[in-house]
């Protein structure tokens, strides 16, 4: 399992650096801008009052935009699970299946490595890569705080990032599970991506529409904590998300234990093709 973990993590190097450094640079920019924006606090708050509720619903509590926590929540944390969710969905869906689709898994699985060890080694590498990206992002916040008036404790910055981590693990493992039951990695990634975006919209719109409150309770992003997390994480929500991730991962592992390793789509299945009435056959 250690060999699989190290090998997979090595393959994640580019992803960790790419996502981590890009987000860290964004964080540096935002924290550096905090003082400038803070100087125009009153005008900004007046402007924000005119923003439609449909818009502000997605980005948190604008009334506390002037506080460091509120600023970070609105400018960064509110959409972070959506952005990093792309990483989680793509990597989660391809964690096992991308090697299967390109034929490499056929050889690896013939080595004396149990399917459990292979699965767990890769899953652990995915979790480590996600934590590493968030750690680089954390550095991007705490380092520029040295020359900014933004004053949030280094440890407290981790609280909302832990919530981001839990969300990413939920969507990553969901994508992994889908890749085990759907015929292709692409379909699994697309489905998980749609669920991620739907969750973002349902959660946001539920703030302005009571009709969506019930369905929003099923949305993982409903339990995402941004500004509130700075005052202390809701442990039940965090634990709930982590349990969901563990359940998705366990189901994916269970499925992987029992399924055939496909070679070049061998044994795969396709969604039934829809024959359109206006489609003409060749030669007609």
């Amino acid at each position: 399992m250690v060999t699989i973990f190290r090998y997979t993590l090595r393959r994640f190097r580019g992803q960790i650096l790419g996502w981590g450094v890009a987000l860290a640079l964004l964080c540096v920019l935002l924290v550096s801008m905090y003082d400038t924006i803070g100087a125009q606090q009153e005008q900004l708050e007046d402007l924000l009052k005119f923003y439609p509720a449909e818009f502000t619903a997605f980005f948190g509590d604008f009334s506390s935009f002037g506080t460091p926590e509120g600023f970070l929540s609105v400018e960064l944390l509110s959409y972070m699970p959506l952005i990093l969710g792309i990483f989680a969905v793509l990597r989660g869906s391809g964690l096992v299946v991308s090697d299967e689709e390109n034929g490499r898994l056929d050889l690896i699985i013939a080595y004396p490595v149990s399917r459990t060890a292979l699965f767990m080694g890769r899953l652990l590498a995915f979790v480590t890569a996600t934590v590493a990206i968030l750690a680089i992002c954390w550095l991007g916040i705490v380092v520029p705080m040295n020359w900014s008036s933004m004053d949030i404790g280094w440890g407290r910055i981790w609280l909302p990032l832990l919530s981001v981590l839990a969300e990413l693990l939920v969507f990553g493992t969901l994508a992994l599970l889908l890749s085990m039951v759907l015929p292709s990695r692409r379909l699994a990634a697309t489905t998980a991506g749609l669920l991620l975006v739907s969750s973002f919209f349902i959660t946001g719109l539920a703030h302005i529409s009571e009709d969506l409150e019930t369905i929003a309770k099923l949305s993982p992003l409903n339990y995402y904590q941004t500004q509130d997390a700075f005052q202390g994480l809701n442990g039940a929500w965090l634990a709930g998300l982590l349990v969901a991730a563990v359940v998705f991962a366990a189901l994916a592992w269970w499925r992987f234990q029992r399924r055939d390793i496909r070679v070049g789509g061998e044994g795969g299945w396709r969604l039934p093709s829809v024959s359109l009435p206006f489609r003409r056959r060749a030669g007609e």
């Binding site: 060999t3 699989i4 090998y7 393959r11 390109n102 034929g103 490499r104 056929d106 050889l107 690896i108 699985i109 013939a110 080595y111 004396p112 490595v113 149990s114 399917r115 029992r258 055939d260 390793i261 070679v263 070049g264 061998e266 044994g267 299945w269």
Partner: protein, 302 residues
């Protein structure tokens, strides 16, 4: 220790509605080189992948090295070396990186000196990145990784695919050396001369069904062949025509005859001893021709 290394009974595997293999029975003995022949899509790879628990059979039983691959997959895989038919390697690794990774997957138990011997014999440079290698050189990496831990059982799906004739010959030598070292070899191939050269027994699989298991020589001996006999003078050949398995195809005024012989030649040769034979020609069918005969049947059916 059982003398049977691969024991397959009634193996059946389908992919949806497509039956890949059906009721396959195979027994491969310890220390033998067993060739598995069949056209593309006949079920060779499916059989091989069932042996390593890469895919799960729908029916039948499989025992490899005395173990059930589904229950003891890791134990079977630890003692086997496998070369897939469609070899895919991490394109961003060097040859050495890939081989060291495979070694790590085996718990770093491989004798690296032996790896160097294998790469030297196959003229394989360890430094290049996999994606820059030709198909043949990638295949060499596949051969080395299958052999490098000196496995008890070698499962090789088209081991010489994409190699030049010299390297094909070298790989066949490595296979026979592995056998000499006590390994059992189960391999598939499309290149009949090489199967004929190294395999002690062969199985021919057609449309997912094993239609023949025999020694290559026995297959050849049992095949239909044509023999032309010339006599010093006109003779009555009616006694030849009555021999079992012999059919007279044509004759020229009693001085020569073209015969079709099915099975052993022994009876014909003994019968010819009574005639004034001036010349005798017979064609020895190759394994390839025998294999093609099975294949042609398929085409006719289609």
């Amino acid at each position: 220790m059982s003398d049977i290394v691969i024991d397959v009974q009634d193996l059946t595997k389908s992919y949806g509605r497509v039956r890949a293999v059906r009721d396959i029975d195979l027994k491969v003995r310890r220390g033998e080189i067993f060739g598995y022949l069949g056209p593309n899509g006949a079920g060779k790879t499916t059989t091989m992948r069932c042996l390593l628990d890469l895919i799960r059979p729908d029916g039948g039983t499989v025992r490899v090295l005395g173990l059930d691959p589904q229950a003891d997959a890791v134990a079977v895989q630890a003692r086997a070396g496998y070369l897939p038919g469609e070899l895919r390697l991490d394109p961003n690794m060097t040859v050495e990186g890939a081989l060291r990774y495979f070694n790590a997957l085996r718990g770093n138990k491989v004798d690296w000196g032996f790896v160097r011997q294998l790469t030297e014999r196959l003229d394989l440079d360890l430094k290049p990145i996999i994606k820059n290698l030709s198909h043949g050189n990638k295949q060499k990496v596949g051969v080395v990784q299958a052999l490098m831990h000196r496995p008890e059982l070698l499962l090789l799906d088209e081991p010489t695919l994409g190699l030049d004739p010299l390297m094909q010959h070298e790989v066949l030598r490595l296979i026979t050396e592995a056998k000499a070292g006590g390994a059992t070899v189960f391999f598939s191939s499309h290149i009949m001369p090489e199967v004929e050269a190294v395999a002690e027994r062969v199985a021919i699989i057609r449309k997912g069904v094993v239609v023949e298991v025999a020694e290559p020589a026995s297959l050849i001996n049992r095949a239909v062949r044509r023999s032309k006999v010339r006599f010093k003078q006109a003779v009555d050949i009616s006694s030849l025509a009555n021999l079992p398995g012999v059919t007279v195809l044509s004759q020229d005024d009693g001085t020569s005859v073209l015969l079709q012989v099915e099975g052993e030649m022994d009876d014909l040769i003994k019968a010819l001893a009574a005639f004034p034979v001036s010349d005798f020609e017979t064609e020895r069918p190759s394994l390839e021709e025998i294999f093609l005969a099975y294949y042609e049947d398929d085409q006719k059916e289609e």
